[in-house]
Amino acid sequence: MNSIFLLLNLLPILFLYQFGGALHVSLPLTSEFTLSLIQTPLGTFFAYLSLISFLLVTIAQKSKKLACNYYVLQFLLSMAMLAIVLAGDFITFFIGWEIMTWSSYFLISKSNSIDIKSLQKYILFSLASAFSLIAGIVIAYSFAHSFDFSVISNSFKDMPFNIKVALIVLFSLSFFTKAGVIGLHYWVVDTYSKAPNLFSSILSAVMSKMGIYGLFLVYGNIVGYQELKMMFGTILNGTDFGYVLAWIGVATSIIATFKAITQDEVKRLLAYSSIAQLGYIIAVIGFGTTYGVAGAMYHTLIHTIIKLLLFINVAAIVAQTGKNRFSQLGGLIYRTPVSFVMLLIGIIGLAGMPPLGGFASKFMMYNAAIDTKFALILIGMLFSGAASFLYCYKLVYGIYLGHPTSKNLETTKEVPISYLIPQIILALLLVLAGTFPGAFIKIINPILVEFSLSTIPYSGLGVMNSAVGSFNGFFIMSAFVVFFVLILLLITRIKSKAKNNLNRFDISYCGEVPTQDTSLHFGFGFGTDLYRIKFVNAILKRSSSSFYESLATQTKKTSELFSRMYYGNIHNTMIIILLFFSTLFFIGVN
């Protein structure tokens, strides 16, 4: 079963490759709707991103005994995403969007740990997103009289200003919900953490990117960055619009980072981290400059790689140990060394350290902020980046380092090879992205042309150019490797005896001797004391849940109020009908 769907997932990639940018299909649905697929550089980028992610996840699913319908739904989901990114009109886009919504809903429901409340959260937010989208679509239609992207884009300039704003707000809300902007992220964490473990990787790595794709589509293609600038005016070297969006993104990033640090469940941490990383992308996506777009695009790519890697890694560990909390894991480094290295590469990328790809994308975004002189935005991003080191370390420490928390962790075997293959591929990609950041310039330039922005100069595979400085990824990577090897050689040459691999109970423990069931996994829960810092406390104690809970309560109360009318007294019903008639009669006659 797995192999069949592996091949099936490979087909669209080959298909896309075969067309090589010339795909243009249109299929009349009714006299009014036409489904059309057009391959733009932007769409192609996201198409490859999602298809390859699906392929890798399918490889990882080899070792799981999954039913046929699971694979079918997953394939449907990948096709829906393909429809989204290749859509040439809003109807195709919306159909893809909704199929994505429900097929992912059914996939999430296949998890063992899911409950109705989380499922409801997921689907209601997704539908709210979709309805906001469709509202925007039909409003655009009412002016353009077409669903076609190019037609709407052409007639956008002639719309009244309030309609333009309404359209931008509606579309943004829809895509923000999918990407999990703070305030609209209420569904994200529960869903990511309770979905099937491998599917969480799709949710975080690919599905949230559909929101990003939508934002690119609307800001870059439908509205156009030039038009945004004309509509809202400029501040410093960027647009007002971009500035507001940047603050939304930075707030998302900072808040989610601190929330991530305090989590105990591994996947919840990753979910918050995902929100935070998408916050960066949203922060720079509205700049409307070459480097803003490039930074957002590059970070999209890098975040996809990293989150796939991390979620697959965690899924493998959860499958292998049956534990999903930091307080239940620990000390797996020498039991599952390959997984450890993969996770390590993942978190180095996530923290954005050189020489891996994570740095290159962050560099691009920071440069975009300097380019537009949005200094505080940049500070916010740097600050959230610094705080993200905490959860990165928590991730690697809580799972792999320290001491095992239970007996059976000590006998854990390395995870199955099917989990490792995609991780190794992704880790290699991450290393390559850091070593040859210049390659990305080649990918991004056609997209920049599509958005009618200036392109980035290309000077070699290893060099990442930007407006305010450049760096040579290849040099840094090789210098790192060379120094590392040299120092390693140096240190191994120095002979010194060491007592290897101490017993884990061989530590000082306040003068007491730890017993077999004493947990020696210290510090896995760090970050929970951050509330003592006033600023962080202000973030942590606030939650959007109270708002949504009260909304739910209000809805329920309204429902009870209305249902009190339907209490089945036919006599009163008759009287109401007669009264209604009389009232209308008097109103009508007068």
Binding site: S563, Y566, Y567, G568, N569, I570, H571, M574, I575, L578
Partner: protein
Amino acid sequence: MLDFFNNTQTIHMIIIIGSMALFFIGFYGIATQKNLVKVLVSFDIMESALFLFFIGLHYQVGLVAPIVDKNLKTFTSMVDPVPQAMILTTIVIGLAVLALGLSFGIEYYKLTGRNDISKMNELRD
């Protein structure tokens, strides 16, 4: 005096007043009565008022019933037959509904011992 009553206008006025009165008696009945049988009777009263109203307004002094016999040679001096046909049909329907309602009522009374429509509220959530 009789002439006064033999006037179409007067007859119509009396019929309108009478049928309206009857109608509102029925109206009052369905608004206040909770006994199923009384409600059904009220409906019937309302319907009867309508029939009376309709037939009555189509009667004009000097016209004969629309029955073809040897006295009736032309179609000019007879009452419009359509309302009568309609009312006949409606009466039949009303009767059917009344019978059905009563049969439901009886069955319901047999099962529960109640015929108060405002207490028929077992169908609820």
